[in-house]
Symmetry: C2
Subunit: 88 residues, 2 copies
Protein backbone atom coordinates (compact mmCIF):
# COMPACT_ATOMS: atom_id res chain seq x y z
CA UNK A 1 0.00 0.00 0.00
CA UNK A 2 1.08 3.54 -0.69
CA UNK A 3 0.03 6.90 0.68
CA UNK A 4 -0.19 9.40 -2.15
CA UNK A 5 -0.01 13.10 -1.25
CA UNK A 6 -1.15 15.16 -4.23
CA UNK A 7 -0.79 18.92 -4.64
CA UNK A 8 -2.81 20.65 -7.35
CA UNK A 9 -1.93 24.25 -8.18
CA UNK A 10 -3.30 26.73 -10.69
CA UNK A 11 -0.86 27.30 -13.58
CA UNK A 12 1.22 30.42 -13.20
CA UNK A 13 -0.38 32.36 -16.06
CA UNK A 14 -3.95 31.58 -14.98
CA UNK A 15 -5.82 34.08 -12.79
CA UNK A 16 -6.53 32.92 -9.23
CA UNK A 17 -9.53 34.91 -7.92
CA UNK A 18 -9.65 32.84 -4.71
CA UNK A 19 -6.02 33.75 -4.02
CA UNK A 20 -6.79 37.42 -4.69
CA UNK A 21 -9.72 37.28 -2.25
CA UNK A 22 -7.57 35.70 0.46
CA UNK A 23 -4.84 38.27 -0.17
CA UNK A 24 -7.39 41.08 0.22
CA UNK A 25 -8.64 39.53 3.46
CA UNK A 26 -5.07 39.21 4.79
CA UNK A 27 -4.45 42.89 4.03
CA UNK A 28 -7.71 43.85 5.75
CA UNK A 29 -6.50 41.99 8.83
CA UNK A 30 -3.27 43.99 8.79
CA UNK A 31 -1.01 41.44 7.14
CA UNK A 32 0.41 43.88 4.61
CA UNK A 33 3.52 41.71 4.11
CA UNK A 34 1.54 38.96 2.33
CA UNK A 35 1.49 38.99 -1.48
CA UNK A 36 1.22 36.65 -4.49
CA UNK A 37 -1.29 34.44 -2.67
CA UNK A 38 -2.18 31.36 -4.74
CA UNK A 39 -4.66 28.75 -3.58
CA UNK A 40 -4.46 25.10 -4.57
CA UNK A 41 -5.69 21.73 -3.39
CA UNK A 42 -3.99 19.14 -1.26
CA UNK A 43 -5.17 15.52 -1.29
CA UNK A 44 -4.18 12.39 0.57
CA UNK A 45 -5.26 8.97 -0.59
CA UNK A 46 -4.25 5.39 0.05
CA UNK A 47 -3.46 3.27 -3.00
CA UNK A 48 -3.92 -0.46 -2.51
CA UNK A 49 -1.05 -1.74 -4.66
CA UNK A 50 2.14 -3.64 -3.88
CA UNK A 51 4.03 -2.18 -6.81
CA UNK A 52 5.31 1.40 -6.71
CA UNK A 53 5.36 1.78 -10.48
CA UNK A 54 1.77 0.62 -10.81
CA UNK A 55 0.70 2.92 -7.97
CA UNK A 56 2.53 5.82 -9.66
CA UNK A 57 0.79 5.10 -12.98
CA UNK A 58 -2.61 4.93 -11.26
CA UNK A 59 -2.16 8.24 -9.45
CA UNK A 60 -1.07 9.96 -12.69
CA UNK A 61 -4.24 8.63 -14.31
CA UNK A 62 -6.42 9.81 -11.37
CA UNK A 63 -4.83 13.28 -11.54
CA UNK A 64 -5.37 13.54 -15.30
CA UNK A 65 -8.95 12.28 -15.19
CA UNK A 66 -10.43 13.63 -11.96
CA UNK A 67 -8.18 15.21 -9.36
CA UNK A 68 -6.94 18.08 -11.50
CA UNK A 69 -7.97 20.01 -14.58
CA UNK A 70 -4.83 19.71 -16.74
CA UNK A 71 -5.87 22.71 -18.87
CA UNK A 72 -5.48 25.22 -16.05
CA UNK A 73 -3.84 23.24 -13.23
CA UNK A 74 -0.55 21.50 -12.52
CA UNK A 75 -0.20 18.57 -10.17
CA UNK A 76 2.59 16.85 -8.34
CA UNK A 77 2.54 13.97 -5.90
CA UNK A 78 4.65 11.81 -3.65
CA UNK A 79 4.21 8.14 -2.85
CA UNK A 80 5.12 6.74 0.57
CA UNK A 81 5.03 3.02 1.29
CA UNK A 82 2.64 2.37 4.20
CA UNK A 83 1.20 -0.60 6.02
CA UNK A 84 -2.33 -0.11 7.37
CA UNK A 85 -1.83 3.64 7.43
CA UNK A 86 1.59 3.58 9.14
CA UNK A 87 4.66 4.79 7.21
CA UNK A 88 7.28 2.05 6.74
CA UNK B 1 11.42 37.71 1.39
CA UNK B 2 10.11 34.26 2.05
CA UNK B 3 7.87 31.91 0.13
CA UNK B 4 5.46 30.22 2.54
CA UNK B 5 3.85 26.97 1.39
CA UNK B 6 0.94 26.17 3.69
CA UNK B 7 -0.97 22.88 3.83
CA UNK B 8 -4.31 22.81 5.67
CA UNK B 9 -5.85 19.40 6.38
CA UNK B 10 -9.03 18.34 8.15
CA UNK B 11 -8.31 16.80 11.56
CA UNK B 12 -8.28 13.01 11.53
CA UNK B 13 -11.45 12.55 13.60
CA UNK B 14 -13.48 15.06 11.59
CA UNK B 15 -15.66 13.81 8.71
CA UNK B 16 -14.53 14.84 5.23
CA UNK B 17 -17.58 14.74 2.91
CA UNK B 18 -15.57 16.22 0.02
CA UNK B 19 -13.04 13.41 0.35
CA UNK B 20 -15.85 10.85 0.41
CA UNK B 21 -17.34 12.35 -2.75
CA UNK B 22 -13.99 12.23 -4.55
CA UNK B 23 -13.45 8.65 -3.37
CA UNK B 24 -16.87 7.67 -4.75
CA UNK B 25 -16.04 9.36 -8.06
CA UNK B 26 -12.68 7.53 -8.25
CA UNK B 27 -14.44 4.21 -7.66
CA UNK B 28 -17.01 5.06 -10.36
CA UNK B 29 -14.12 5.66 -12.76
CA UNK B 30 -12.73 2.20 -11.94
CA UNK B 31 -10.02 3.23 -9.47
CA UNK B 32 -11.02 0.65 -6.86
CA UNK B 33 -7.55 0.80 -5.27
CA UNK B 34 -8.12 4.33 -3.92
CA UNK B 35 -9.30 4.69 -0.30
CA UNK B 36 -9.11 7.07 2.67
CA UNK B 37 -9.32 10.10 0.40
CA UNK B 38 -8.94 13.34 2.36
CA UNK B 39 -9.08 16.78 0.77
CA UNK B 40 -7.23 19.77 2.12
CA UNK B 41 -5.98 23.12 0.94
CA UNK B 42 -2.59 24.17 -0.34
CA UNK B 43 -1.52 27.79 -0.33
CA UNK B 44 1.52 29.68 -1.51
CA UNK B 45 2.21 33.22 -0.41
CA UNK B 46 5.14 35.58 -0.41
CA UNK B 47 6.03 37.20 2.92
CA UNK B 48 7.86 40.49 2.67
CA UNK B 49 10.16 40.19 5.67
CA UNK B 50 13.92 39.93 6.05
CA UNK B 51 13.73 37.95 9.27
CA UNK B 52 12.81 34.27 9.20
CA UNK B 53 11.52 34.27 12.79
CA UNK B 54 9.27 37.24 12.15
CA UNK B 55 7.99 35.64 8.92
CA UNK B 56 7.32 32.40 10.81
CA UNK B 57 5.37 34.26 13.51
CA UNK B 58 3.31 36.11 10.90
CA UNK B 59 2.40 32.94 8.99
CA UNK B 60 1.34 31.21 12.24
CA UNK B 61 -0.90 34.21 12.96
CA UNK B 62 -2.35 34.15 9.42
CA UNK B 63 -3.08 30.42 9.72
CA UNK B 64 -4.76 30.84 13.10
CA UNK B 65 -6.83 33.85 12.06
CA UNK B 66 -7.76 33.25 8.43
CA UNK B 67 -6.10 30.46 6.46
CA UNK B 68 -7.35 27.59 8.62
CA UNK B 69 -10.13 26.85 11.06
CA UNK B 70 -8.16 25.55 14.08
CA UNK B 71 -11.26 23.84 15.50
CA UNK B 72 -11.48 21.28 12.70
CA UNK B 73 -8.28 21.77 10.71
CA UNK B 74 -4.55 21.32 11.16
CA UNK B 75 -1.96 23.36 9.31
CA UNK B 76 1.69 23.08 8.55
CA UNK B 77 3.97 25.26 6.48
CA UNK B 78 7.46 25.70 5.17
CA UNK B 79 9.38 28.91 4.61
CA UNK B 80 11.88 29.25 1.76
CA UNK B 81 14.06 32.34 1.38
CA UNK B 82 13.43 33.92 -2.04
CA UNK B 83 14.46 37.01 -3.92
CA UNK B 84 11.87 38.43 -6.32
CA UNK B 85 10.18 35.05 -6.52
CA UNK B 86 13.38 33.05 -7.12
CA UNK B 87 14.54 30.54 -4.47
CA UNK B 88 17.97 31.42 -3.04
Amino acid sequence: MFLATVTVTIKENVLDPQGQAVEGALHSLGFEEASNVRIGKYMELTIDSGDREEAHRKVVEMCEKLLSNPVIEDYQFELTAVQKGVAL
